[in-house]
Symmetry: none
Subunit: 145 residues, 12 copies
């Protein structure tokens, strides 16, 4: 049974409560519930965290270097600036899948570049909840390779 670390970045705890035009109407809780259901189907176990702190996300990645078989991360606002999270991902020997609820290329210019994508296996963006579900499938597949 593969263990997948699921990391939600800053402000994602507001999902479903704020700006549904960008992120849809599901709450983070509901997303996590759907991820958990899918994980059960895929025979995977999830460890889910949300943090608004760049440093905490770095630490969470580090603390699961051994215990997680793959990482599913939505770095949110830190996607575009965090060299610390990039370094943590690069230091991990686990496959990391980056997901975004909205299509980052359709938003403000400053959201177009990802600092973290280059050290991930791949990136999925624009499918709302399904970015997460597809990303979980990708992460489980990667963990099994």
């Amino acid at each position: 049974m593969k263990k997948i670390l699921v990391l939600h970045g800053p402000n994602l705890n507001l999902l479903g409560l704020r700006e549904p035009e960008f992120y849809g109407h599901l709450t983070l809780e509901e997303i996590n519930a759907q991820l958990s259901n899918l994980a059960k189907d895929l025979g995977a176990e999830l460890m889910i965290f949300q943090s608004n702190s760049e440093g905490d996300l770095v630490t969470l990645i580090q603390e699961h270097f051994d215990s997680a078989d793959a990482i599913l991360i939505n770095p949110a606002a830190y996607t575009h600036t965090s060299i610390a999270i990039r370094d943590a991902i690069a230091a991990s020997s686990r496959p990391v899948v980056e997901v975004h609820l909205s299509n980052i290329h359709k938003r403000e210019e400053f959201r177009h570049h990802s600092m973290t994508a280059a050290v991930c296996v791949g990136q999925i963006s624009g499918f709302g909840l399904h970015s997460y579900l597809l990303g979980l499938r990708a992460a489980v597949e990667a963990a099994e390779d």
Copy 2:
């Protein structure tokens, strides 16, 4: 039962036969077989085409405006330059999912920008065969919305 148009762009007919370091060892035929199996599971029907011609891809998109519920496309080399395919996608009222076998941001500079992604629902890149399979799931979901 949702009908999904699957379009493979230029040179993808060579998959599995050429340059496996970029595209993996599966042939396009095998990819199509796996897509068909997954489609059966998802209760979808596939219409699959490959073309090396920008104009033909434009025409194929146009010819399925009514018959397809969603489009799954890997525009390959035309991803980076084709305004004509972009215009055809934009003219379609169907959801379009863009997929890439390899992570386009890890390759030559001229492959980093996508001319077509901005008019698609979303983009999935870097997961090899799974980019297609995840993309098919995303397309079926989008078709059902």
Copy 3:
């Protein structure tokens, strides 16, 4: 009686069916009918083609080097990137009039530059069907000079 080659570029066969906010409600067939009516009035004869293929457009220009007295062209998406169409126009000794249904300066940045305009007599943009009709008049006038 002047002979005018009328060339419609990629996706223009969709006219009237898709994105009327950009291109109006007339179909290409109706535009052609109106062009033919006008041609009759102007004592001109039309040779009309639409193609989604850059290469076909190049070939059509070439094949009418002798038979056409002027060319009316809407290169559509190829306006902005095609060196091949530019070369074909430059190789022609006939006057070429470039038309656009929508105002290209009101749209995306990448549609502002025309690769072909520099080798044409002039440019008409933004009048929908009438860009064509006016362009036909301009082409007939140019053919008569």
Copy 4:
């Protein structure tokens, strides 16, 4: 019978008398005569004004909001600087057609940008007298839409 407001901007009263290398040999009177002849053919009625004054051009546009079915304007020198004319055009619910005798992109750098084109229906440039005649047709057509 459609009523078309024809506005000639500053210094255009000099046409045919001064600097023919830029504007051709026809006088404004001759252009107006040809416009009137064409209007008769088109079943349109012209209201023709030339003004060297930015404010008068603004007022002329406003005063014909109801009486004119469309506007044909060559803003000449004000093309490049007049926000007031731009605002008047934008406030008008009538279609406005911008014309230029010469190709403005072939002259001094400060004449390359049009402040007004973005709020017009379309622009015709480079055809000399025919820019006006084609523009009148475009205006009449637009008035009839």
Copy 5:
């Protein structure tokens, strides 16, 4: 009893009739009525003019050098380019208050800079009708200083 010159620049006569998304639904007449009511409350007398002509606005400022105790002006489109209005304001020994209905910094780039603000007492922008009402209060206060 203080006398206040109220000047409305080009196209403001169209207020309430055109483009309410920028300027609200009140007509200039209604704005003037509200200004007059407020003036009565403030013990001030208004002299109200609107002109589309840069030169006329210059002249109106000049003609009220003695009769007005303060000036309330919305230079509209001329705000951004008119050195002549700037010079007329600078030549006045009366306090001048510049107002704008909409927030000029939220609109097109070319509306961000004000040529006239530097020689006014102050600027109020973005409050619709209230820009005028607040401006009138500011003008009356300044007139009393």
Copy 6:
């Protein structure tokens, strides 16, 4: 007997009444009287106009293409922005002398560049009334060449 067109731009009617630190204490009337006296001495005839309107200045230049042997102009605020006045001067075949009461290089940055000087014979600035008187002499001399 040479005929000289004398043109005073916007706000120059305020001369002697406002901002004497920039323009001196003489009124425009007095300047004109002095110009007339000098003209009599020089055997020249003056045609004098002041306007706050850019368009009127353009028209005045045009109306005197034949009747004036030379033009003496102080474009004031329009010096720095008017393409229309520049075009009118360029269209004239008469010598044009540009004068400024104050030294434009001692004032705000935006007054340092002249849009019109490049099409004039020469420029005199900084001598108050005498810029005009000297300019008249220069204009008469130029008219006689």
Copy 7:
């Protein structure tokens, strides 16, 4: 006996008929005749195609992966923009020789960069007809290696 695929890109069918200052006076037919004569001498068999279509050129390269021992290509206008032809060349395990009649570095800036040269065996430019003849020899030699 080696089989060589000879591909002429867009507009090369015009050789000898148009713009001899760039391409010389020989027709494509004459070039092909000379290539055929040379092929006979070299004991090679030619398969010659000209196409104005990018997609057809891609397909022609693919269709001759097995039947052609080497490819001689003048991509003409597509040299500078076609990623699809580049990908087809890269996917081929056959040696590809790129030729240009004129020296591409002596023409417009946008013709200086070759998108395809980096994946070819080599490039020959500047020798007119002889660029082709030498290129054929290079291709035959490469086929024999």
Copy 8:
């Protein structure tokens, strides 16, 4: 009777003898004669000096602080570099008029900037001999103010 110090800078003693394409055909002697005639008419007395020395020009300015009512100076080559002459002019309470025979903005880049103009009353350039004669009038007038 006003006393005017006339200062000719370096190399102006060569006028009429050398490089007439820049300075005209009149000699400095002839210019001085014309200046003297004009001075007589104006009821002024001239003190004329030419010097090639920056220091002498500074001293000449200082020595005439009391005896000269105004200064007419053509600083020639020192226009562009002399802070010492600038300081002497600034220290003078007499009006100083800067003149140039040719238009300094039409010559080498290093002659475009004037170090001295900012501390003069005004500048006259481009009228040849008349720059001096007009400058003398300006100086006499300034002396009388």
Copy 9:
């Protein structure tokens, strides 16, 4: 019988012995033998030299100004820096063909620029031994023109 000077630049004497991945396995001797055989076939006579010295290459070019009908040169490392060889080629009135064994555009950045190509007839690169053989043909053809 045409005489061709063949010049091999620095380190080319190592051919076949070192870095075969760049230059192939043939020795310079073998290349020369093949060149000689081809020359015989072409009815040409070769004068072959190799030198590691920039100066010797210059001298060899000079010494054959009269005796050689054309020059075939691989300047090797000197391609990118030698002004002396460039000067010698420019001083020659004979056609010069530049060849490279490897494709210089696939190698280090500093090998992309050629100091000598601009004064040669044309350039052939990337075909190993055949760059020479093809170059010899090009040189013989050029000698015969």
Copy 10:
């Protein structure tokens, strides 16, 4: 008893008489008197000169190479441009102290750089009269070293 050469540059003879806002109200004579009093206290003897001529200042420095033990100089306007004074100072084997009454960095941009300071012992600026007095102390100290 040390002998100090005191040099005042161009226009300093005007001190106290002109522009007190820059240089204070003391005359050069008064400054010299105060310098002489201080010199007496310090046991030094002064040789004081003022000149407006760059060349004379050079000569004065040269003439006191032997008789002066140190030099106190205010090069005034020549500070910023004179390589000749710099060379004279450098040629001296005596310590040279540069002083300025005003702070040169607070004045016009062109007064910020000193050409002479680099070859002086040190620079004192901004203390009015005290710049001189402190400079004299510094010069005497330096002379004694």
Copy 11:
């Protein structure tokens, strides 16, 4: 017998006395003696001047326009800044040879540019006394051409 004007710029009177590391040990007197001896040998007559004053150097050049057949000048410090000396040289129709005792390219950055060299025949620098002697020979040769 050719007459040569020899001009020594500022500080050159110090030669042999100061900074021998730059200028050698000979005094200017000795240099002049040697120049005179050489002149005698060359059948030339010298007119020798030294001045620390820019203006004097200008005057000396002017005064010998007719009497000197060539000029030998070491402008020293004025080399780098004097537009006045440049203008005097340019106005001369005689050949002018610029010499420098030291190699100006080995010294401070601000000595690398010569304002005067562009209007001289040639330049000799770095040979101490011999720069002069060689320069005299060059001047005599130039005078004889």
Copy 12:
């Protein structure tokens, strides 16, 4: 009797035979004859070499460290790139004189900088044959110091 090494760099053996617009009509032989005649007069003995080889020029400088009393060199094309010749000159304890026939600052940009001048005694440029003759005198003088 001083021994002078005379070194002519690459391509100088072509003097008088090729490109006289750059180098004049004298042959190197004639220059050498003139140098020899002058050497006889100067009581010097010349050792003259021309080489196209950078290495030979280095070696020639080295081999004459003891036997030559001075060196006269025209490094020609190597002037701009040769660090080896610069190092050889720097290693020599003999004076080295650099000469150029033409003014190197008037030719292509890449010929403006001298790599060798900074380690020579001095440089003479622009006097044609006389650059050499003057350089020989400089070298003999330097040898005698």
